[in-house]
Symmetry: C2
Subunit: 419 residues, 2 copies
């Protein structure tokens, strides 16, 4: 095996050089490249599936579990959907070059902002071949060069997809190194990728918490990351009863494994005995295990004791913790203490209560009378999502193309000088 | 001396708690606090000056150089200007809570963004007492708690100013710990401050390159930083002659020590022999030392040889390097290779050339027909400036109040659930 440090330095240099070239790429150049990539994937449809089958065979023989194998698997439908995804990104507005806030200043200069790519984006993800195409498309459309490091179990699939991507780039006259897929399974490659600030401007880890925690701890470049999703719904004493039932039910049961699923329900004391029995019955019909505070357990039967660990838990499972609170202040205090600052929703008809919740709850998405399940780039109209940021720096919440860009100042003058 | 780690952990905890309180502070609360701080500084005007005099005495006896002593010194005029600065920040619009882009989605939810404070800001600066008041005001107005660590030579001055700040905060009903000034000269305090991600959300180092480089290398929290200012002016072959002369002269000679001062002049070959002799004479009258490429030296006498080191130099002095280039492409290539990505300006009357320069030059400020000296938060209308960022992540260019904030998503619904 080649020397990993040298190999990654070469990848980094090529990415930086490609990023300089991409600055000159027009919207048309980028869209053409995306279309050519889609066509290359269609042309080599069977080859990509065959390479994926190699990964699947190895995965089965090395004993990968069913969930991992499912994420690794491509089939005709999935490959078609991957290709459609690339064309959807091509159809999005180009964020690069957008000029905003251009205003005249007393000196006579006109000052505004122009949106620019971040430069080189490193994406680290698990063995999901569709991420290779998806991440490549988002980085390219936002004018960034990308270095993609997928899970080793998907190496053959990723190399096949990378081949199609490179063909598309070249056909559109863009540098091949605009999208590079790391073709070594040596884990040291990740260590190098996240510590090359001279070549990499931002790292986006996509995958499990272990991966994300390790990457963000060891990276010397900025990381756009998502850690936990401990989301709350608070049913206020002035909630509309039917909205409360619908939202609390949907936020928990629509999907259990997603980061925007409600994990803790807070209910105002004044309405708890009215709402909780009906809601609990609905949950129990769905097979959701309930864990509650003592008041909850007085109101509803078959509820286990919720401990402090429950308030801190991201179950990602049909389990819900329930706490009865005095009112808004106690709900906000609970959220402040236990929330992962991902998504919280209040159900209320009271204007002032809604306004306070929106202002005082410090999470990446704060909602009134809507299910937490809406916290999603597509639902928000971003058109695509590279991830969800639970940080505040640079970008917060669902991250679309804009999150992969920055803004520079532009100044238009007519010969002005400083007095 | 107390245990520094314990002390800084205490400061961090108090700042985090204060930041939670500040989220509830109204615009009026914050403006009142700023006004009360200004009044406290007026009431204790002589005390602050006397404490500064202690620092000056110690500074003189320990042999601080004249430039450092000048930055350390407060006098009546400077203290008045410091107090005015606080009132100017109070007069700025409150960025916190600003809601933008609120749009209806097909699902019926309304999605928008609300601007929120970053949380806790750590400011590390040299022995300039005015920064204490300035940074405190900007952090407070943007709803952030601040931990201020000034140079040890200014400790008495900073403690006196901090006392006034704390009085103002308390009088306005805001937590005293919203602004904390580190009252130890132990350098280990900086090491702690930049490695407490649980309590500190961002670090802003203000000072010399050594300080900034050290802080950004060792910090485990995000840093808003400014490193070098190697700024270029390119005089295009279609430049207006009088604009070119005025801008190139102003960008170099308006002030020598500032980061937005031009350090390298690029001139298109076609106009070099017309423009350079007159411009060089103006520079030489001002005492600016010229260093040039061979073509420059053929055209102008008394020009030293510019080496590769000159193209990389931030002189911050009456020295200018000059290079004659074939045209736009070579100018952009030179800038790409040598610029610190701070500020570059083109002088041209050609629409397409201007448009290409704006798009392709990747610097925090890119200008057409204006002096690089305009790259400044006040000139840009930001109202105030906490620094200039030469990074792309989070914020780029002059950083005003908005740079100390983030945006969360807000969702307004009417009972919507995910289908």
């Amino acid at each position: 095996m080649k020397n990993i440090k040298e190999y990654m330095q070469g990848v980094g240099q090529a990415a930086r050089a490609a990023a300089y070239q991409l600055v000159k790429a027009t919207t048309n150049d980028k869209n053409n490249a995306l279309e050519f990539i889609a066509i290359a994937l269609e042309d080599q449809f069977d080859f990509v599936l065959a390479e994926n089958e190699k990964d699947m065979l190895e995965g089965r023989s090395s004993g990968l579990d069913a969930a991992l194998l499912d994420r690794l698997a491509l089939n005709e439908a999935r490959l078609h959907s991957m290709i459609d995804g690339i064309r959807q990104v091509a159809a999005l507005n180009d964020p690069v070059g957008e000029i905003t806030d251009l205003k005249y200043r007393p000196s006579g200069i006109q000052v505004g902002k122009m949106r620019v790519p971040l430069g080189v984006v490193g994406i680290i993800y698990e063995s999901r071949p569709n991420v290779t195409a998806d991440a490549a498309a988002l980085c390219l459309k936002s004018g960034n060069a990308a270095i993609l490091r997928g899970g080793s179990e998907a190496l053959n699939s990723n190399k096949a997809i990378a081949q199609c991507i490179n063909q598309g780039l070249v056909k559109a006259g863009l540098p091949e190194a605009a999208i590079q897929v790391i073709d070594t399974i040596d884990r040291a490659a990740v260590g190098e990728l996240i510590t090359m600030p001279e070549y990499v401007d931002v790292i986006v880890p996509r995958g499990g918490k272990g991966l994300i925690a390790r990457v963000s701890q060891e990276a010397s470049v900025p990381v756009i990351k998502h850690l936990h999703g401990i989301c709350h719904v608070y049913i206020d004493d002035e909630a509309d009863r039917s909205k409360a039932l619908a939202i609390a039910f949907n936020a928990k049961t629509h999907r259990y494994g997603t980061c925007n699923t409600m994990e803790t329900l807070l209910v105002a004391q004044a309405v708890a005995s009215d709402i909780l029995p009906e809601l609990a019955a609905q949950y129990q019909t769905e097979g959701v295990e309930l864990r509650g505070c003592s008041i909850t357990r007085d109101i509803v039967s078959d509820v286990k004791v919720a401990t402090d660990e429950d308030w801190q838990a991201e179950y990602l499972a049909p389990i819900l913790s329930i706490r009865v609170v005095k009112g808004l202040d106690e709900a906000i205090d609970h959220i402040q203490q236990y929330s992962s600052q991902h998504t919280e929703s209040i159900v209320t008809e009271n204007y002032t209560t809604a306004r306070r919740f929106l202002r005082e709850v410090d999470s990446s998405s704060v909602m009134v009378n809507a299910s937490t399940r809406f916290a999603d780039g597509y639902e928000y109209g971003l058109g695509a999502e590279i991830g969800i940021s639970t940080d505040k720096f640079h970008v917060r919440g669902p991250v679309g193309l804009e999150g992969l860009t920055s803004q520079k100042f532009i100044v238009l003058g007519d010969g002005q000088v400083r007095e």
